[in-house]
């Protein structure tokens, strides 16, 4: 009883800690998955870890939702908007894991991508997005608005690049020997970046505008 009365405070701080773990796991699965396609890592060597991490992401997403419902039921209303925001953001964090799994599936199917001329560009892109994902984790902790805006600008540049590369593949202007694989990879990396931008833009965007930061420059 006394331990119950005097134990550590938890509440929303604990839920944010879970969310931070989700972001970290998201980056881990993204790196591992990309390495199987563009880095030459044997998919069998990372499969178990990648799937376990993805399952953990899904479990934490559900845990966060449950804990948010409990938090809303017991705590004060001032924290309600933060809870709604988190309820939306966990979906973005979970989607990063899902796209990483899609990339991994490409890596399993296409074992000779390391010979593709598009590989070097995709390795650079992967490193760029991986750094963004690491930055996203830090921004989640610091909630620095200026850096969050800078992050979104860098993210937009990645989105534009992915679109250009896909356009080139569609137009036949790319020298990729695996055009479908490359197009899918650019598409998946674009979605991972977009979900990361949703998460980071929540630092400065109002709750109702979450996911729509790129549509209204006034709110940026």
């Amino acid at each position: 009883m006394f331990h119950w009365l005097l134990g550590d405070k938890q509440g929303l701080a604990r839920i944010f800690q879970h969310f931070g773990q989700m972001l970290e796991d998201g980056r881990h699965t993204f790196d591992a998955a990309c390495n199987t396609l563009v880095g030459g890592t044997d998919p069998d060597a990372v499969r178990d870890d990648l799937y376990a991490t993805d399952r953990r992401i899904n479990a934490v997403e559900q845990k966060i939702r449950r804990e948010l419902v409990v938090h809303v039921a017991v705590s004060d209303r001032a924290e309600f908007p933060v809870c709604l925001k988190l309820m939306s953001l966990v979906k973005d964090a979970e989607r990063i894991g899902d796209y990483a799994k899609n990339i991994f599936d490409l890596g399993v199917r296409v074992r000779d991508f390391h010979t593709d001329p598009a590989r070097a560009d995709l390795v650079q892109l992967k490193d760029r997005v991986s750094r963004l994902l690491a930055k996203m984790r830090n921004l989640h902790e610091s909630q620095d608005e200026d850096q969050a805006r800078a992050f979104c600008e860098q993210g937009e540049a990645v989105l534009r690049l992915c679109d250009e590369r896909v356009d080139a593949l569609v137009d036949g202007a790319s020298d990729s020997t695996h055009p479908v694989t490359s197009a899918l990879m650019y598409r998946y990396v674009k979605r991972v970046t977009a979900h990361a931008m949703n998460i980071v833009s929540s630092i400065f965007m109002p709750v109702d505008k979450l996911d729509y930061f790129d549509e209204d420059p006034e709110t940026r």
């Binding site: 134990g7 509440g11 604990r14 944010f16 804990e67 419902v69 409990v70 924290e79 933060v82």
Partner: protein
Amino acid sequence: MPSHPSIPVRREVPAWLRAALLLALLYGFLVAIGLMSSAFKILGEGHAGGLFAGVTNPFAALAVGILATVLVQSSSVTTSTIVALCGSGQLALETAVPMVMGANIGTTVTNTLVSIGSVRRSAEFRRAFACATVHDIFNFCSVAVLLPLELMTGFLHGAARTLTDLVSFGGGVTFKSPVKAAVKVGTRSVQGVIEETGLTGGALSIALLVVSLGLIFLCLKYITRNMRVLLVDRIEASLNSVLGRSGVLGMVVGMAITVSVQSSSITTSLLVPLCASGILTLQNAFPITLGANIGTTITALLASMAADSPLGLTVALVHLLFNLAGTLVFYPVPTLRNIPIRGARRLALLASNNKLWLLVYVVVAFVLLPGLGILLFE
């Protein structure tokens, strides 16, 4: 655990200040019980306690307990009043026992009303209503089994008397605790102030009753609010820890939350949205509800500290023993455990298919039946 910049900063009252406030509120509560005992003594036998007056039939007493609790929306207030009445010698223990059982039933109306919040969303409402009414049905079942047994054997008040004798060292020694002495000082001071207005006899006792009831409401309200704010993180962590589990842990959590906030309605009402959203199952909510039922007896036990005679403690112990016995009858054996759970599910299904059942249930169980009980048996 470190906070996060996204979390709004709460205006925190220092814990020591809250603890001091809590002690003051508890003292106020005990003084109010003392004042109520004085009021009943002045009013005299046969006139005591308004709704409680002159009740001798056990079924009428049960109905009075239900109705009084529904009216004041707090079993703590009802049981504290019963303790004060018994403690001042104005209510027989045999009559107080069914009244306490009635208070147990009456308090369940609060979370039933909370569940109405999701009445427009059928599936959600079904889960919420089942969660709320499992408490009602458990209490109805407990009374159905334990009241006849008590009337035939007197086992509850017999056991409570034995325990009271043990606490008061064989029954020959009267209570002379420092708490009671401190409470007497407060009671005499407040009574002195009221007496200085020139009121005497019946007018004085009514004034004392009004002041004491007001003080009980006020103190319990702020004790609950204060403790809820103080322990919000603990309550949250405890509920998180029992979401996917069933059994004794849930019972302990329900008890701990209720003892802390001094209100079973707070605990059981917290469970309603959790069940409505589907994150807490009825099976897992049930032991938490049972724990809350046991935990709520702390208020009557506290009130008995201010009662003049050990009979106040005896009735408070009856409250505790009744809830423990009910839990022992209906929880350990799965077949019996399923009676309240299945009953609540059936009732929720009926109410979600036809909302008229909701109205019929609340009005019949909490107003008509107890009203009829009083009319028929007294």
